[in-house]
């Protein structure tokens, strides 16, 4: 096995090594909190670099390669695929995770001896997220999905000083397991319907479906439906979204950003991997189904976000609506991948920033973040309030932020694919959505201060906020660099 052959799984190997080193540090050092965090951060950075190297190694996309046990391209049953799609996903996931970990930095330091477990779980969860996007096989994807999910179940309930965290963990675990089972049942039926678990290669799902017309497609349709449901749960698309508000509210604020952003990126990427790579020939079946889910998500997310009184819940429902917008890109098939990536990436950056502010305002441990806590933030912490306003503008899709460009691209994609009704629905919900975000802005800027307590922004969080705010505005003004890369990040 030569070095180049290791490249496709390099990020996972690096993260695993990082996780093990963090555990070892716990044994070797007396108080390894800070060192462990640095190791974890370094591992994520190295994984990101590895993904960049992957991208470069791929060149113009001509020499994509599969990977199996022997480290050589194999014709049958590839497990992992290295293509522009997975490399792009890797960079985004790892960078967002670094930002998420930076937001959780203060939480890590206060966890004491438990920080080692926390960091290990974060690293392994991130590895799982990337596995979801880089798998060339349904079973591999399922393993990645479960790796990420199981680690996140624990992380959701990690700070158990408050009852909320318990509740979040149990709810997330029970509903998440249910969704996983639905997903894997879909995988099993897909196996029965196509005779393969692989996305690529000889006898793979794609090849089988491209060469044969399934005379009795009932099981195939069911299988697709179940797989879509499983993934919709992960990306909080309606009506499979209901865990999100409760879990976001109950989980430690320091880590919710990572949960919300990371899982969404990986979930959408994995859904895209399945639909674009394995089932492109069935687009006429799955695209309308996704359009319905997208429409439901926009409506439900927007309406329910408007009636919430807790910022974390508002953001969760807003996430549901955004999941709907992102799904709009999917109905356009291959044409929509670029806009999907752009939306997912910029949304993830914004969401990390938003939850970083939440962690500052409401503390990075478990607990809710009632609107009252936010009133008059602009006079207590003006810079923080303005940064939050930028993020809210992006979430609302106001021009000159990434949110606007992202919305325009997915709207165009859906319209071009012939889903005009979906586009109009999205427009209407976007306008209703303005109310949601401006309500929060109004509380921050127009109401009197809730208290006199000083708002302390830890340096790591400040860094994250700077990154999030700058990218939100800069990529909103000049989206081309990212948009061009996103358009290149096509699956094999």
């Amino acid at each position: 096995m030569n070095n180049a052959a290791l490249l496709p799984i390099a990020p996972e190997v690096i993260l695993l090594a990082g996780a093990l080193i963090v555990i070892l540090l716990l044994v070797l050092l007396d108080r390894p909190y800070r060192e462990g965090g640095i190791v974890a951060m370094a591992a994520l950075a190295a994984a990101a670099v590895a993904s960049v190297l992957q991208w470069q190694a791929l060149g113009d996309g001509a020499d994509n390669l599969y990977f199996s046990a022997q480290g050589v391209p194999v014709p049958r049953l590839p497990m992992v695929v290295m293509d522009h799609y997975s490399a792009f996903a890797g960079v985004v996931i790892f960078v967002v995770s670094m930002l998420g970990l930076a937001v959780a930095w203060r939480l890590v330091l206060t966890l004491g001896a438990r920080s080692a477990e926390f960091l290990t779980l974060v690293l392994l969860a991130v590895a799982g997220l990337h596995m979801m996007t880089a798998s060339a096989n349904m079973i591999m994807l399922f393993i990645g999905l479960e790796t990420a999910s199981i680690a996140l179940y624990v992380l959701a309930g990690f700070t158990r000083e408050r009852a909320n965290a318990d509740e979040a963990a149990v709810k997330y675990f029970l509903l998440g397991s249910l969704a996983s089972v639905v997903f894997v049942y879909g995988a099993a039926l897909l196996f029965a319907a196509t005779g393969s678990t692989a996305f690529y290669g000889a006898g793979s799902m794609r090849e089988f479906l491209a060469e044969n017309i399934v005379a009795e497609p009932a099981i195939l349709l069911l299988a697709m439906g179940l797989v879509i449901v499983g993934m919709s749960f992960k990306v909080t698309a309606a009506p499979f979204h209901q865990w999100a508000p409760d879990v976001y509210q109950g989980a430690p604020s320091g880590i919710v950003g990572l949960m919300a952003a990371g899982v969404k990126i990986a979930g959408f990427a994995a859904l895209g991997r399945i639909l674009f790579s394995a089932l492109p020939s069935q687009i006429d079946d799955w695209a309308p189904a996704l359009a319905i889910i997208a429409g439901a998500s926009m409506i439900i997310g927007t309406v329910l976000a408007a009636v919430q009184d807790d910022v974390k819940r508002i953001l969760a429902y807003s996430g549901v609506a955004h999941a709907g917008y992102i799904l709009m890109a999917f109905v356009a098939g291959n044409e929509g991948i670029g806009s999907m990536w752009f939306y997912v990436t910029t949304y993830a950056l914004t969401v990390i920033g938003v939850f970083a502010v939440v962690a500052v305002v409401s503390g990075s441990r478990s607990g809710s973040s009632p609107l009252a806590e936010w009133s008059g933030l602009s006079s207590r912490a003006p810079v923080l309030a303005w940064v939050m306003l930028i993020m809210l503008l992006a979430l609302a899709g106001i021009p000159f932020t990434t949110g606007f460009v992202a919305k325009v691209t997915v709207f165009t994609a859906a319209t071009d694919a012939g889903y005009l009704w979906l586009m109009i629905l999205a427009l209407v919900t976007t306008i209703v959505g303005l109310y949601v975000y401006f309500r929060l802005a109004a509380v921050m800027f127009l109401e009197g201060p809730a208290g006199v307590e000083e708002v302390v922004v830890p340096p790591t969080t400040a860094l994250v906020l700077a990154v999030a705010a700058v990218t939100t505005v800069l990529l909103g003004l000049l989206p081309w660099p990212l948009l061009d890369l996103a358009r290149e990040a096509l699956p094999l």
Binding site: N164, L174, L175, L222, I292, V408
Partner: protein, 623 residues
């Protein structure tokens, strides 16, 4: 030179950025001076750009800045033509005077710097709207204008009313913006581009009447929101909670006229949709009369002016509705002068009587505030339509055009005349209650003339209000000629020629004088009791807000809550309480609501799954 058109927008934008960030440090009064200087500079530059247009050496120019969304062919480009020039000069010119006034008016406010930051932001947004050369950039400006006006209305957010007014303005305007957005969508669907030039060039041949009607009706919905027409006018009176310079700048001179400007800009499209034009003219005339009756009954001086603004905007909308676009723009200009003057004068008065806005507690200010009084007299006569002040010419041109349009529109003309009578009446009432009679202001208030920084802008505006009529008299249609390049290919309704126009003008003058006399007769001796009946209803704005609450807002809220309960599992709450028991709670975390049950979530998920599977199979034709 014209390539540097973007400087007009960037100057106030820089000011906004600097003042929002460093406003506190720059402080009072330097942040105000900086903001005023920037707007003044923008005015001078705009004037420079206008010279070639006036001398006839210039022609409309499009300045391309950069390509923004190439997929949709959206360029960020600006358009400089007579229409844009006129509007830019009004915005920066009147805006400059109001900025200067505000330096004095806002003196001592805690957030002085922040205020001017917002004001500059507003000017930048308004210029973006005005200078846009395509629908997307215009929409961006449109939205930014809404945002900055929201910030300014609720500037004194500690007052709950100000905060609520800001929200109300924001929400009501969303309805209009929705219309604008959908119109953009249809335009793109019909033409494949957002550029004004391309759209207007193709429209006469490439657009069916039905499509044109749909697009223009939706655009008009946007204008109805922004320009406060029936039925979306309700936000404007409440917006008076903002500082008075804001009312003058945004709610009289500039932002509310954006709707008129937008219709004038898209005159080609409106010209293709006669049905829409009838709707536009009718709504305008109805608003002009309706708001005038409301203005008659107000006791708060700023609310009189607010309803008066709505009424005057009604005239402008009526003008564009009868395709007298130039007349509409002309009235827009003169109105900007005299209404800004009225607001600023009102602000000076309010300042003098220690924040009192109720006219029944003013009176006798004529002697104390001579400069304010005499400038206000000019504005009063101008808005009432007394020759030869500016309002006479512009209002008369609108009415004459409506009359000349013939048929049904003669009826609208009659409504306009009645509204003019009421206008003269309520303005006379305002003047006498404020400046005439005995002093009724509260004890301990030492009213005195405002300082020069307040009065100098008043005087300048008074001169403009008095003389602006010469730009476009029936004898010399200067503005008409100036704007011609912008309305190329548009059939405009001109006032009738010859004796008719003289007769109409004479009638208008008589009506104005009758209105003034009526007001004089009623208020000059003693104050009549104005309670109950019409007066009570008018003060409450005919309870329109109540009806909105009952008919629109409450059902909407109820539906959202209902949806939330079903989807959130919160309906359980009510049911459990109703059934009344069986529920045990353990531990501190378990008290309270019974929402958030895992099983309910699971059931919804499963039902969703089943629904999706069924749908897939059904659409696959397998059942």
């Amino acid at each position: 030179m014209i390539d540097y058109l973007w400087v007009l927008i960037v100057l106030p934008l820089l000011g906004a950025a600097a003042l929002i960030v460093f406003g506190k440090r720059i402080g009072d009064p330097w942040s105000g001076r900086l903001a005023s200087a920037l707007v003044g500079t923008a005015f001078l530059i705009a004037a420079g750009f206008t010279v070639p247009l006036v001398t006839g050496n210039g022609h409309p120019e499009t300045v391309e800045l950069f390509s923004w969304i190439p997929v949709l062919g959206v360029e960020v480009s600006l358009l400089w033509d007579p229409l844009a020039a006129l509007m830019t000069l009004i915005v920066t010119g009147v805006g400059f005077l109001i900025h200067v006034y505000a330096v004095g008016y806002m003196h001592g406010d805690e957030r002085f710097g922040r205020f001017f930051g917002y004001m500059n932001l507003f000017i930048a947004s308004m210029l973006t709207l005005v200078l846009a050369s395509n629908f997307v950039v215009m929409f961006v400006g449109w939205e930014l204008v809404g945002l900055s006006s929201y910030l300014l209305i609720s500037f004194w957010f500690v007052r709950p009313a100000a905060s609520a007014a800001g929200k109300k303005a924001f929400i009501v305007n969303r309805i209009g913006d929705w219309g604008f957005l959908v119109a953009l969508l249809l335009i793109f669907a019909a033409f494949g581009t957002f550029e004004f030039a391309a759209v207007f060039a193709e429209a006469p041949t490439g657009l069916t009447t039905g499509m044109a009607t749909a697009i223009t009706l939706l655009l008009f919905l946007g204008a109805v929101g922004k320009s406060a027409q029936i039925p979306l006018y309700v936000w404007l009176p409440d917006a008076m909670e903002g500082p008075t310079p804001v009312s003058a700048l945004i709610h009289a001179a500039t932002m509310v006229t954006a709707g008129i400007y937008m219709i004038a800009r898209t005159a080609v499209l409106f010209g293709l949709a006669p049905a829409t034009l009838t709707v536009v003219a009718t709504v305008g005339a109805a608003t002009a009369l309706f708001a005038a009756t409301l203005a008659m009954g107000q006791r708060d001086i700023k609310r009189v002016l607010a309803y008066s603004t709505i009424s005057q905007l009604g005239y402008m909308v009526m003008a564009v509705g009868v395709t007298a676009f130039t007349a509409g723009m002309f009235h827009l200009m003169t109105h900007a002068f005299f209404k800004a003057l009225l607001f600023l004068g009102a602000g000076a008065v309010i300042h003098a009587v220690a924040g009192e806005q109720d006219m029944s507690r003013m009176g006798g200010l004529r002697k104390v505030m001579p400069i304010t009084f005499w400038t206000m007299v000019v504005a009063w006569l101008a808005i009432a339509g007394v020759a030869p002040l500016s309002g006479f010419w512009s209002k008369d041109e609108i009415l004459a055009a409506a009359f000349a349009h013939g048929g049904y529109f003669v009826f609208l003309w009659a409504i306009g005349v009645v509204a003019a009578l009421l206008t003269a009446f309520y303005m006379t009432r305002l003047m006498i209650l404020t400046f005439g009679g005995e002093e009724r202001w509260p004890d301990g208030v030492e009213a005195s003339e405002a300082p020069p920084i307040l009065t100098v802008p008043l005087v300048i505006l008074a001169v403009l209000s008095a003389t602006a009529g010469i730009f476009n008299t029936p004898f010399r249609l200067g503005l008409e000629h100036f704007l011609e390049p912008s309305f190329e290919g548009v059939t405009q309704q001109l006032p009738p020629a010859g004796a008719t126009v003289v007769a109409l003008a004479a009638l208008a003058l008589v009506v104005a004088l009758v209105g003034i006399f009526w007001g004089w007769a009623r208020y000059s001796r003693r104050l009549p009791v104005e309670e109950g009946g019409f007066w009570g209803a008018a003060v409450e704005g005919y309870r329109v807000d109540d009806w909105y609450g009952r008919l629109v807002v409450a059902p909407g809220k109820a539906m959202a809550t209902w949806a939330a309960e079903i989807l959130d599992g919160r309906i359980i709450d009510g049911v459990v309480n109703g059934v009344g028991g069986g529920v045990k709670s353990f531990g501190n975390s378990l008290s309270g609501t019974q929402s958030g049950l895992v099983r309910w979530y699971g059931a919804v998920m499963a039902a969703g799954t089943l629904g999706l599977l069924l749908w897939l199979l059904l659409s696959g034709g397998l059942f």
